[in-house]
């Protein structure tokens, strides 16, 4: 990416955003977005531009994760101060649509043990599916806290009809180098998915929720 977006341009853009956010204090933590304008891409014919990317630094710090765990994972969650539910607690919801919807709304993401994840359709019905909150698998081969970090660091992107894509890459409370790293990583990954890489990119901007866009490319 060095030749396309110079390190200086990126730092300038990030500083611009951070300075602007300090000028006027908002009642909420502004998100920083990366906006990509595409060209020479036909959304009807070309392969869809959609997926997830794992960032280096957590872009949304306040994400609430709930563990749907077997005995071992529930114990571990308790020890680490992470909220959890076991199979019994899920059974108590009795597949009630309103309760499942409420559960879905209470958390930003769920992780589930292997033995539990298979039972979700039986225990809860499609409620979590519909809410876009179906759990990710938590295996016993990986650290729970590491998986939670991973889930918190992963962002979704999808280009719909218009040739422009917006991705949340951080927030204004992050340090300059953290934001820069997240932006750099995102740009490299997203561009690498395009058929003609940089030849499909028309423009790149970064922007805080309330601030003006800073052009990078």
């Amino acid at each position: 990416m060095a030749t396309k977006v110079s390190r200086d341009t990126l730092l300038e853009g990030v500083n611009g955003i951070l300075e602007h956010s300090l000028k006027k204090k908002r009642g909420f933590l502004e998100t920083v977005e990366l906006q990509i304008g595409l060209k020479n891409y036909d959304p009807q014919k070309d392969k869809r531009f959609s997926g997830t990317v794992k960032l280096k630094h957590i872009p949304r710090p306040k994400m609430k994760v709930c563990i749907l765990g077997d005995q071992q994972h529930c114990d571990e969650a308790k020890a680490n101060g992470v909220e959890f539910m076991d199979a019994e607690a899920l059974k108590k919801l009795n597949k009630n649509k309103k309760l499942v919807k409420k559960l879905a709304k209470s958390y930003d993401a769920f992780l589930a043990s292997e033995s539990l994840i298979k039972q979700i359709p039986r225990l809860l019905g499609p409620g979590l599916n519909k809410a876009g909150k179906f759990p990710a698998l938590l295996s016993h081969q990986e650290s729970m806290m590491a998986k939670i970090e991973e889930v918190k660091s992963t962002i979704k992107f999808q280009m719909k009809k218009v040739l422009c894509l917006s991705v949340a890459v951080g927030h204004v409370g992050m340090k300059q180098d953290e934001l820069t790293q997240n932006i750099s990583l995102s740009i490299n990954f997203l561009v690498s998915l395009l058929k003609k890489n940089w030849q499909n990119v028309r423009s790149l901007h970064i922007k805080s929720s309330m601030g003006p866009p800073q052009r990078l490319y």
């Binding site: 997926g51 519909k130 999808q158």
Partner: protein, 410 residues
């Protein structure tokens, strides 16, 4: 193929145009000699050019006996070919499927399927929310299936994918997300009527709908929400029909059903970020999981940024191979790797002389024959037969002439 032949082929390749692709550096990760050792080679037995106007082949289907192929283009044209035992294509003369009249050019093919055991009846789906049924022995449309209007919640009239079930009685179409609902719309093909919808199991655009090839009630669906749902549509209620859900934690592009050597049902998934996963259907266990970089290394190429994971196919012994290609230089590289728990990813076939970015493929396990279709509007038949290179030379000179004209406008 021999080392000398491979070198000749490599030397004859056109260099990239200076207009585009100058930044994308990609190459093999091993010598041509090593490549020839690791991959067996397959060649184009025959080719057909369906379009010279930048229309992509976006739908491909063969009948059960693999004697006939139907191809759907991005401009909604449908072409049908007979495929001989030896792998040669013959156009089926009568153009049975009329082009969709569409001045805005916003509709495209989203699937073509032969009816079960019948190489004369086919279903064609387009993104404007329409599935048409044609019988090649008669003229005109046999039937059409569209979304019923005025339902609540409202179903959008855009289909993104479809499939028909094992006994060709049920049709299922997946839609985009519309007012917070993504639908699976079911039709009774024989009765020509809409049966109902599911709209609780996906939270975003449905991108893949696949019925099991043997069990008429078994269906799997995938979406950009990253989920793969398995349904038993014998149950009328969606809640009861949803058997299991697998989370790819990505965005689903293509699903396929396979059977492993223990006769267990496997679902393979290709994501929009070019990763591959496979799941054991009954237990929902992940069997294989390969990231883009793993598969790029498997096909012996350097750059994940120049990579296109196309499809997964089963061979006669139920083993699996992944078809993958590159994008620059008009998709010059087309290769496959076998995928197994025991051996991970291993080089398998190098398809010599590929001319386009491949988007669709079919594999006949009995003849070890691959059919590919892609962005240059070409259908290629690949076999082990190295003798026939006439058609590929003709096509080469066609594109060379076109390039020459491009550079000399006066």
């Amino acid at each position: 193929m021999s080392f000398i032949e491979y070198l000749d082929e490599a030397a004859a390749k056109e260099l990239p145009s200076s207009e585009d692709e100058e930044d994308i550096k990609d190459e093999d990760t091993c010598s041509p000699l090593q490549l020839a050792k690791e991959f067996r080679a397959q060649y184009t037995k025959d080719e057909a050019v369906l379009s010279l106007q930048q229309d992509y082949v976006l739908g491909l289907c063969a009948d059960t006996g693999f004697t006939r192929i139907v191809a759907g283009l991005s401009n909604t044209e449908v072409k049908i070919y007979d495929l001989s035992e030896g792998g040669l294509l013959t156009t089926v003369e009568k153009d049975h499927v009329p082009l969709l009249q569409n001045t805005q050019n916003t509709n495209t093919i989203c699937g073509v399927r032969f009816m079960e055991d019948n190489a004369n009846t086919l279903l064609v789906s387009t993104t404007n929310g329409l599935v048409r049924l044609f019988d090649l022995r008669t003229t005109g449309e046999q039937a059409r299936f569209e979304c019923e209007s005025g339902t609540s919640p409202p179903v959008p009239n855009t289909f993104s994918c479809f499939d028909r079930n094992a006994n060709s009685r049920i049709l299922c179409c997946g839609t985009k997300l519309f007012l917070d609902n993504a639908f699976l719309v079911f039709y009774d093909i024989r009765e020509r009527k809409q049966l109902g919808v599911y709209n609780e199991s996906h939270a975003d655009d449905v991108t893949s709908v696949r019925f099991h090839s043997k069990y008429p009630d078994l269906l799997c669906t995938g979406s950009t929400d990253g989920l793969i749902n398995v349904f038993d549509i014998k149950e009328s209620d969606e809640d009861e029909a949803l058997r299991s859900t697998m989370n790819t934690e990505s965005s689903v592009h293509r699903l396929n059903w396979h059977q492993n050597s223990n006769d267990q049902d496997i679902i393979t998934c290709i994501t929009h970020t070019n990763d591959f996963k496979s799941f054991q259907c009954l237990e929902c266990d992940t069997i294989l999981s390969f990231e883009r970089s793993d598969i790029v290394a498997g096909i012996r190429r350097k750059s994940p940024a120049n990579f296109n994971l196309i499809n997964a196919h089963s061979m006669k012994d139920n083993s699996l191979f992944l078809l993958a290609g590159t994008n620059i230089n008009r998709g010059e590289i087309l290769r496959s790797v076998t995928a197994s728990v025991k051996d991970s990813l291993k080089p398998f076939t190098n398809f010599v002389g590929n001319k386009q970015i491949v988007r669709e493929s079919l594999y006949d396990a009995n003849r070890d024959l691959l059919v590919t279709g892609g962005e240059s509007g070409i259908i290629s038949i690949w076999t082990n037969d190295a003798s026939n290179t006439n058609s590929s030379n003709q096509l080469k000179s066609k594109s060379a002439a076109a390039k020459k004209r491009k550079n000399m406008p006066y």
